[in-house]
Subunit: 94 residues, 2 copies
Amino acid sequence: MRYTPAGIPVSEGRLQHHSTLIENGSERQVEVEMAVLALGDAARWLEAAPLGGMMRIEGFIAARGRNSRTPVIHANTIEYLEGNENGTILQEED
Amino acid sequence: MRYTPAGIPVSEGRLQHHSTLIENGSERQVEVEMAVLALGDAARWLEAAPLGGMMRIEGFIAARGRNSRTPVIHANTIEYLEGNENGTILQEED
């Protein structure tokens, strides 16, 4: 976990999602992995998430910054799940 | 617009989003630009969307493919909007 100059905790990691969805009437497997970032209390939850653990995240997607268009999931709320849901923390970064 | 080997129409473009949201109690500007893809009827709607036009898209995000982790928005439904909503088609690709 790091802190902004204003002292706000920031945690980053990578989130892996897999699911089976319907697209244009056909079932398909979906896999995607994206960077995830959280501030404040959500950062503490993200930091405490077990690697490989399942979670549900609500938030939004924003570009990493002015110099990078890479989309990053900003987690406003994080809910730990047991078992068979979709999100998995792959890696936590300091 | 292109077609899959099975004859399903596929349309691709880029979607730009901007909005003002609350993160950790503070207002922030969000900007993000991502690839968008649609199949079937949704492909026809995406193809017909005016460049720079506003739209609301529902769907999911998946990695582009086995060799690319780039996240792509898959549009299941596309609604054209007038005026002040968030999504904008930046570029359509054949």
